[in-house]
Symmetry: C2
Subunit: 131 residues, 2 copies
């Protein structure tokens, strides 16, 4: 009922110390897991996803992205800052305008895998291997 002190697994029915001993050493540090979640949070917003998609095609300045996505310059600028902090985009200044572009290819892979995943939904996958 209350919080378990150590790691008191549920009765002995379903769980075993064996699992614990197998799983725990494989877990990354708390800090890494936190950073990972922070990274995915950045992907977890429609505006930012749209920005990234736009940048798939070509580098672009802030006001263009704003125009393309039909949003205010301020909103885009705020989001670009987050994308930059997460190292998903970088920027380059040319006179008054600042061009943003994708940082590395993990962005493409991650988004690509995500797209695949949500696409499978529509497809078959009716087979449940359990009862």
């Amino acid at each position: 009922m209350a919080k378990q002190a150590y790691v008191e697994l549920c009765d002995e029915v379903c769980t075993h110390r064996e699992i614990l001993e197998k799983v725990q050493p494989e877990m990354p540090d708390e800090e890494r897991l936190y950073d990972l979640a922070e990274l995915f949070k950045v992907f977890g917003d429609t505006t930012r996803i749209r920005i990234l998609y736009v940048l798939f095609e070509s580098e672009m300045c802030v006001c263009d992205i704003a125009a393309l996505l039909n949003m205010t310059q301020s909103a885009i600028s705020h989001q670009l800052r987050l994308l930059k902090q997460a190292r998903l985009v970088r920027s380059r200044r040319e006179g008054k305008t600042v061009y943003y572009f994708l940082d590395d290819d993990h962005v493409r892979t991650v988004i690509g895998q995500g797209m695949e995943h949500i696409s499978e939904r529509a497809g078959g996958r009716k087979d449940e291997k359990e009862l």
Copy 2:
């Protein structure tokens, strides 16, 4: 200042209709982009990331996950529901206990790529190709 009616790009300095015409047809439907962001939102939480990592090793019942992560059964159950709705995990009942396991391999790929991305941070990458 106010919202642009159509797609009025920023002056003519930086932007061009060409870009617009190139980018816009490549953009997925709003609905897909929304679903994609929703998917990544699911990855964007430490608890859920930790659950997924635990399930990398082996299927597991709710109370075991709760014990391993030192969280309440309720909290884990709520999160498992989200993971299930996102089709990242599935479940299988065996008597009183319900076992959860990873649904497909996109989970591994996505998390793997995410890990790679945050790891590069520590590494080199000091080269800025622009001024």
